[in-house]
Symmetry: C2
Subunit: 447 residues, 2 copies
């Protein structure tokens, strides 16, 4: 207990301090220590190389001495090692430096990995990569997607915190299905029925009554019965809700700030991941180009000749059309479609006062695919009772939610961003599972 934190450990009294591989070039000439995973061994005739991977990148270790080489030959890739060596400049080495005269110590043994992590891309099917996630995620390209996600989430929170939003944590176990009875997971709650929250929608609205402006980052659960490349049974939702708005426009404007914050956080905080994956980082315009739902249908119909009368939603092909329109007319990766018909929106959606039948809400499309849904909500108790009755429902299961509206709520609105979907669209992967650490779907609950 009297040993101070900075004292060397008794087991290795002369161990030099650990240096990250990305910082090696600052230590040319010095005897230092690196630590990480044996990413690759290259056993040439005259010399051997050990490539060590740590959280900052790769370092090359030159092994020329015979005993050390024999030892290296015995180690499997992914063995965790500590290497003490001297840093020398070598323009041919990655990063312009390498480690010579190494002493290699094993910190964690490894069996041979199921696939080569050192190849530019992994040679295995997606199901295999997901089954072996603890290993496959170590591949620099797989890992990089999550560094983007982490940076984007930080950018999200910093942006809303700067706008005076309060972070909330709302319950994921709820007494009744949130928005509809469908697609909800049932749980055994101390012998009584419970459900997993499909979204924090009701709670975040209620909390506008307390904090005015709230946000939440948390899991949401959808018992999606379909197996598609875009749907997950559990994903991360970035939720925002705030009061004292006039229309969906105020919501779309906050969303624009948030998306800009996420995109710049990716560029600034995840520069290495951006350099590796080369996603096309979008320009966020000073205002999102907008199309009204009815206008979008009219333009599509005029261009394609499709009869779209009576259509009350956009198909994926229509969304792609809008994406192309935004690119062509406004040079933008983003487009907002406003005024989806009320019949396609959940009961808490407010109507456009100037255009009955159409909602005061929107979808944000990113590169022709829906990424965010947002809008203004009802805020009067009587309007909720009417909307629930119009759906043939009873107010009883909504009692806790309606309590907020009974006791004074301002006009308010908000949106939810699916984090995995944002990263999938940013990186252009074919399947959202590629950018989800441990995806959950109709068929998968492990690892």
């Amino acid at each position: 207990m009297s040993t101070s934190m900075t004292a060397p450990s008794p087991a290795a009294p002369t161990t030099p301090p650990r240096v990250l591989s990305a910082a090696l070039s600052e230590h040319v000439g010095a005897r230092i220590r690196i630590a990480g995973w044996l990413h690759r061994r290259r056993l040439l005739k005259s010399v051997a190389f050990a490539i060590v991977r740590d959280r900052s990148g790769l370092a090359q270790v030159v092994v020329s001495e015979e005993v050390a080489r024999a030892r290296l030959e015995e180690l499997n890739e992914e063995t965790v090692v500590e290497v003490t060596g001297t840093v020398v400049a070598n323009p041919a080495a990655p990063g312009g430096v390498e480690l010579v005269e190494p002493v290699i110590t094993v910190l964690g043994e490894a069996e041979a990995p199921p696939f080569d992590l050192y190849r530019p891309s992994l040679r295995a099917t997606l199901p295999t990569l997901l089954d072996r996630a603890p290993v496959s995620l170590r591949h620099p390209r797989r890992k990089a997607a999550f560094e983007l996600a982490s940076a984007a989430t930080m950018g999200f929170r910093e942006t809303v915190a700067a706008m005076d939003f309060t972070e909330i944590f709302t319950p994921k176990i709820v007494a009744s299905a949130t928005e509809s009875g469908a697609n909800v997971f049932a749980i055994d709650y101390f012998g009584r029925p419970g459900y997993l929250a499909q979204s924090p929608q009701f709670y975040k609205q209620t909390m506008v009554g307390v904090f005015e402006r709230v946000f939440e980052v948390g899991p949401v659960f959808r018992a999606e019965p379909h197996d598609t490349v875009r749907h997950l049974a559990e994903y991360t939702s970035l939720d925002v809700e705030f009061g004292f708005i006039e229309s969906y426009r105020d919501v779309a404007e906050v969303l624009r700030e948030v998306v800009a914050g996420m995109v710049s956080a990716v560029a600034e905080r995840a520069a290495a991941a951006v350099a590796l994956l080369e996603p096309v980082v979008p320009q966020v315009p000073s205002r999102f180009p907008e199309l009204h739902f009815a206008e979008a249908l009219e333009l599509i119909s005029r261009e394609t000749g499709e009869d779209l009368s009576g259509v009350n939603d956009l198909s994926p092909a229509h969304e792609r059309w809008v994406g192309e329109w935004a690119r062509r007319e406004h040079g933008s990766d983003f487009a907002v479609v406003v005024g989806y018909p009320m019949s396609k929106r959940p009961f808490y959606t407010a109507e456009d006062p100037g255009r009955p039948g159409y909602s005061d809400s929107f979808d944000l499309l990113f590169r022709g695919t829906e990424m965010v849904t947002g809008g203004r909500r009802l805020h009067r108790y009587a309007d909720y009772l009417a909307a629930i009755a119009a759906q043939g429902g009873s107010p009883e299961p909504y009692a806790g939610y309606l309590e907020a509206f009974k006791h004074g709520m301002p006009p308010h609105g908000g949106f939810a961003i699916g984090l995995e979907r944002f990263v999938a669209q940013l990186t252009g992967v074919a399947n959202i599972r590629e950018v989800t650490l441990f995806p959950r779907d109709l068929h998968r609950i492990a690892p």
Copy 2:
């Protein structure tokens, strides 16, 4: 669609911009607009006052004109209003300013609240406050605890992000109970059995193999069969895990940095809540005072005369004793107890190599109550197989977890902070439910 964001709304063409109540004193002499909840009406003989609450605090509105007064008398507390008025200095008013010549517009009607939100503290039992959470949380003192929590969480994340930790989102639906079969919620996962994660423990360890340093803020689920003032069935866990450590000391040092970051974020970001609740914000020492478990028992036994031979855990009374020891001997609100017996720690816990039978792990006590558990974990595959076998278990349910250790893991460790417990101890509330937005327990699943 051509209307710009900054254009005035058609309904109120001459509305001045909204000012928050806390900023009113910057607008003396100006005609401005405030918006918020009618917190209190004071109807005196000669004059009436409307106190309006917004997210920044309270504003006083002077109503002397007869028609306006009659209108105010009709409104219930908690009605959402917009008030346009002229700001005048008045040393007797809260904040030194008030609004005169008001025009009051109702934005959201309200029924009379079930309790008076304007009183210094709420006059209702805790069950009633929880049943009516959407209203009771509006009370400035209740609300303030969550502003502390939001600030502390931001401080947590900023501190770990600055130390190069990556944020992860691990699944909450899992295929097998995490640490034990007890206290786990079962779910119907597409017709197959699933469970809610009791902690992200296995996943965060696995992710050390990918990112080296990870953190997660998310819900954890415990089917706690006991109804106590300290336990919840769902709470927010602030999790940290990182590699390339030597002992629990490295973990305790990161924890110290994190707690310091949380405490200063509370002081800086939640100053108004701190001013209202007056929690005793602790000093975080440059190093936490430490006692070994065995030494703690010896000191307690010597002082109290209790026979503690064979005891393998600390009782709440023992924890309080250690808390008093830390205060008395080190002037600290914090104390670390290290080396809890292996028999009381989960199977993944590493042993102290210098003291067999005792773990390389610790608890952090804050004011005499356990707040954090942390330590070094096993990192070798063979050690996991042995530890699981020693418990009479089979490695099969742990296959996805063990995959990481089979393929090379560094010595690592981490900790988990219960957010609600931290705030409860900081604010000194009697029951953790007071600082949980929508608590879940043996009896409560709504609202």
